[in-house]
Every structure is written in C-alpha cells, then in structure tokens.
Symmetry: C2
Subunit: 350 residues, 2 copies
C-alpha cells in the first residue's frame, strides 16, 4: 500500500466533512475541520498502517476481512477515539489499539450484516459475501471481532473489556428487536430509538469513553466523552436516514423498500406515516408486490409531509445535546475539533 | 422445565457412554462410568439449570439460542470441565460458569455452522436456521459467544479470557483452512489434523485447563489437564469420523458426499484414498453429479481398505496419549473418571 493510500482514508473523511460543511454554507464548521485535519493526520495514518498489516493469510476468510478493510470507509469511529484520547495525554499506543479495535468491531458487524441482508454492494464494490461466499464472510466477521477483543484485552485498562462486551450485547439485542419488527411498517418510535441506540450509538459511546481512558483523561471527562458519543451516534444515524430519502426519487424508493423488507424503518418514514394517513396503504401495496410503480410517489409524499425537516430538527437537537456534554472538557483545540465533528454531522452529504 | 429434564441431559450422556461401553464388551469401562455418574450428577444438574434460565426474551434471535440449548446434546465439554475442577477443590461457582461458557461457545459455533452448511437437522430437530431464519441464527451465535465471554470475564481468573480468545482464533483459522480446501479430495493429513485440532480439540483443551484453574488445581496439574483435553478432543473427532462410515452404506455415502461438498474430509476417507488407487476417480464421478449410484460401492470400498481399523488404531493411540497425561494427577476417583472418559470415547456409538 503506498503512503498516499495509507494517509488517504481517514483523511479523506475529514476532507469530505469539510467540503460538505462548506457546501452547506457553514464556513465556520469547515474552518474547524481544516484545523482538525492537520491535528489528526498522523493518528489516522497510524490507524491505517495497523489495519493494513492485519493478517496476511490468503484463505477466503482472511481475504474477506482484507477486502472490506481495504475498501476504506469513513473511519469516523477511529477519528472519535483519536480525538477522545487527546482530551488526555494524546494518541498513545493504547489509544491506537482502541481506534483499530473499534473499526474492526464495526467491520465485523458489516460482514455479518451483508450476509443477513444478502447485500451485493458495499462502499461501491461487491461485498465479501459475493466474492468469497457466506461462510467466509460470517467467519471473517467472527475473526475480526475476536481480533478486536484481543487488542482491547492486551491494552489492559480495567473496565474496557467489560464494557465492550456489554456494548456487543446491546448491539445484538438491537438486531433482535429489528428482526422481531421485520415486516411491520408502524414500528413505535421507542423501538426505532432502541434499535439505533443499540446498533450505532453504543459503539460510538464506547469508542469515545475508551479513547478517553487510553489517554488517561479524568473519570468525569471520560463519562462526558461517552455521553457525547451516544448523542453523536444517534444524530449520525438520523442523518443517515435523511440522506436515504434525500436522493433521486426512484433510487430513494428502491432503497426504502429494500430496507423495509429487512425490517429497517427510517425516522423520516415514521414521521411521514404519522402525518399522512394515506401513506401506509400505499406502502402496503408496493410492499405487497403489486406493480403500481408507486415508489416515486411515496418518496415525494414523504418529503411533502415535512418529515425531512422534522428529522433534521431532531438531529440538530441531538447535535446540540452532544455539544452540551463538551462543557466538562477544557477549552482548546480538542474541544473545538469535537464541536466541529458534531456540527459537521448535520451538514454531511454522504 | 421439570427436574427430570434438568437432570436428564448431561446424565443421559453418561448413561449412553456407559451402555456403549458395555455393548463394546468393555465392562471395566462401564463400571467406571457408573461411578462417574453418581459423582457428577449434581454438577451437571447445576449446568442444565443455568443453561435453562439463560435469557427469556421472545425475539427470533433469543428463540434460536433457546431452541438449540433445549435440544440438549452430549454436554461432553461441561462434563470435562466438572471433572477437571474436581482435580482441585471441586465444582465451585467459578467452575460452573466455565462449564456453562464452554457449552455456549460450542453452541455458538453450531448455530453459525448450520447457516454456513445450510444444515436442516441438528439433534433430531429442525435447525434454528430453518425455524427462525439465517439472520436469527447468525446473531444468536454471536449472542451466545458474547454471553460466554462475559461469564469468563466475570470469573476473573487471570489468563482464562486471554486463552479463550486465542482458542477462538484457532477455531476460526481452522474454519479458514477447511474453506480453503473446499472441493479438494486429497487434503494432506497435516491439514486434516490442523483443522480438527483447531475446530474441536482446542476447546476441549481450554475447558479442561479452565476447569482445573477454577478448582485451583496446581499449575502443573492444569497443564496436564490441558494436554489431556487436547488428545481427547482429537480422539473424539477421529471416532466421529469412524461413526460416519460405520452406518448403513447408503446413509454413509450421502453423509460423506454432503460433508465433502462442504470441504470436510474424514480420516478414514484420507486413509482409504491412500490405499485404494481407484477410489479417487469413483469419488470424482459421484461428486461431479454423474448418476452412477456409486455411494454404496464407495462406502464398501472405504471399509474394505482397512481404513476403519487404522482410524480406530489412531484413536486408541490418542486415547492412550491422553491417559499418559493423567499420571501428573493424584490417584483417586477423579483420575479414574477421567480415565473412564478417555476409554469410553473409543467405545461410543453416537
């Protein structure tokens, strides 16, 4: 792997956040991200280096893991860990292990999700499942998870392994709830939040907490970082949901129906179902397979209901809640960077 | 669950080992097992109780886990842990946690295996995959694994969690090797042993070691128990392979071809391929899907090659190797019971 590629991935995320912040007119946010980029460049290079040397065996299992990691991704979780560690004494080797571990856990869930959802594309490339089969993809997920746990164990900070095992249970209980709701349209909002808190926010929460602990931040600061991560994670998922309904109408419709068949409802859809009494019937018809070509109409009606605006307002509240937790941290470039992440979240375009 | 059922499962395994030992004419072995049954009855009841109360949620994920655990199984791994703990101060609560954890890890691998192998039947009932779907079965496996790790973590004995994570890696590397050999007939014997050492023996080894540590046996005794577990695990798998070719010829043929398609070769088959030059060609024809109805012929030729006898001789050597490790333990009922397990292994019929 060339140095440019190694530098590239986490860095590219920062560049993306930055350009989307500028696109959204939030010039102040963009300026903060420029500062963060210089600030974290070396940390992220170390993470990519470590992910790059992980296991060189050539079996289908190991190739599946390699394939997914090599495709990059936003590396948002390692970015969070790196920032959290800098609240204390910085991106020490323990923090690097945590940053790698959190990305590996995330990757493990993607490998299992692609089998469960029969996913064909991920990060613009065929999924490991397509290239190497279900077996390799399932076992590769298991392998990455165990590797992550070994790293956390080796770091040896009391309480971290405990907590991450608890987080894994939360993630699985959320998957369980989602499976249980498969096929339902009117999922209670409480269930929606339980699912995204478990599947997405819990790992952000742990990553921020563990990063703080690795950097030897104070217990109060670590708890503040955990709360920040939790709010940020929920906001992240709500914005993801908004992006799902914000594209070209035909694509939006298709994605939404694929998601619905897997039991995944989005926040804008739940809001729209509450506001537009005729929408549920339309959805049922399309889900029932009757060829009404109604996907485009449905996407338009969701937008017309004001659901996107309500979702953005929720994300803004969550982002502001996240910012509120930062008052426990000393002012300075790290706190500024964390603020930048929470604000940029609202302006991201992918 | 009635008390009878709770008592039943591990106990039933002892009864089975006992009757198969008598069937094989090994009356001395059978007598030892009678003694062991009285000896371990209460320990196994505790294990069943603990497995019985594990997680009552009614989601497809939790039902999948429950379904597999309720079907019972041999509970051989908990039996090993219980015996190992009794080399020291006995089946203390830490030993019970280890016994439950080892059964949960084993169950987690079965849930993933049934998805990978598209298995329809397990322990005489439809698999969780068939009843609740692939997603529930994969996530249930993940859930049981995390639950097992939480138990091992809670026990808090230094080194146990470390070692079990290493064992999980060994198990996955063995799966990786098996996947890599999928579709090959002439797998090197070295690969065969690496696969069964990783997939089967490593968990027996860990269970015996951890049981010894939980019972506070001496470091030397714990290492002897680990070595015993390793040899016992390999012997167990070789006998499993023999049972695969020992039944009705038509069934044997079908099972063998199903296994071969998943990359699973058995020891008797490897031996027979070495001894009977025409066998490989016959196998390729049947595997190639040409309707030769040759399954029965193949099973007969494997038996005619003397492969079964050679496999039994290997299992006997492994069993005797296992017995050799027991000299590090004090003489008495526990050592007798461990000897009984190693000997009964050779006489088991299912």
């Amino acid at each position: 792997m060339t140095e440019e590629v190694i530098i590239g991935q986490g860095d590219r995320m920062l560049a993306r956040l930055e350009s989307s912040a500028r696109g959204g007119g939030a010039a102040v946010v963009a300026d903060r991200l420029v500062a963060m980029r210089a600030f974290l460049g070396d940390d992220l290079r170390q993470v990519e280096e470590e992910l790059g040397v992980l296991e060189g065996k050539a079996t289908p299992l190991h190739r599946s893991a390699r394939h997914l990691l090599d495709l990059g991704g936003k590396r948002l979780r390692p970015i969070c860990v790196a920032l959290a560690s800098r609240v204390g004494r910085g991106f020490v080797p323990a923090a690097r292990e945590i940053a790698v571990a959190v990305e590996l856990i995330h990757s493990a869930t993607l490998l299992h999700d692609d089998v469960v959802d029969v996913g064909d594309l991920r990060r613009g490339a065929p999924t490991a499942r397509v290239l190497y089969g279900n077996a390799a993809s399932i076992f590769a997920g298991d392998w990455l998870l165990v590797d992550a746990l070994q790293r956390i164990q080796r770091v040896g900070i009391p309480g971290l392994l405990d907590r991450v095992l608890g987080v894994l249970k939360e993630m699985l209980d959320a998957e369980a709830l989602q499976l249980e709701n498969r096929g339902k349209l009117r999922v209670p909002q409480a269930d929606y939040f339980r699912v995204i808190e478990g599947k997405t926010a819990s790992l952000f929460r742990w990553g921020m907490f563990a990063g703080g602990r690795a950097g030897e931040a104070s217990p109060g600061q670590c708890e503040a970082l955990a709360c920040f991560g939790q709010s940020l994670g929920v906001a992240f998922q709500v914005i993801d949901d908004v992006l799902d309904v914000a594209g070209d109408e035909a694509t939006v419709g298709k994605t939404m129906f694929a998601d619905l068949r897997e039991g995944k409802v989005t926040f804008p859809l739940l809001v729209a179902l509450d506001r537009d009494a005729g929408l549920e019937e339309m959805l049922r018809e399309v889900l029932g397979g009757e060829e009404t070509g109604g996907e485009v109409d449905i996407a338009l009606r969701i937008r017309a209901s004001g659901a996107v605006e309500e979702s953005l307002a929720l994300a803004a509240r969550l982002s502001s809640e996240a910012l509120g937790h930062l008052v426990a941290l000393p002012p300075g470039p790290v706190r500024d960077a964390l603020e930048g992440v929470a604000l940029a979240m609202l302006h991201r375009v992918h």
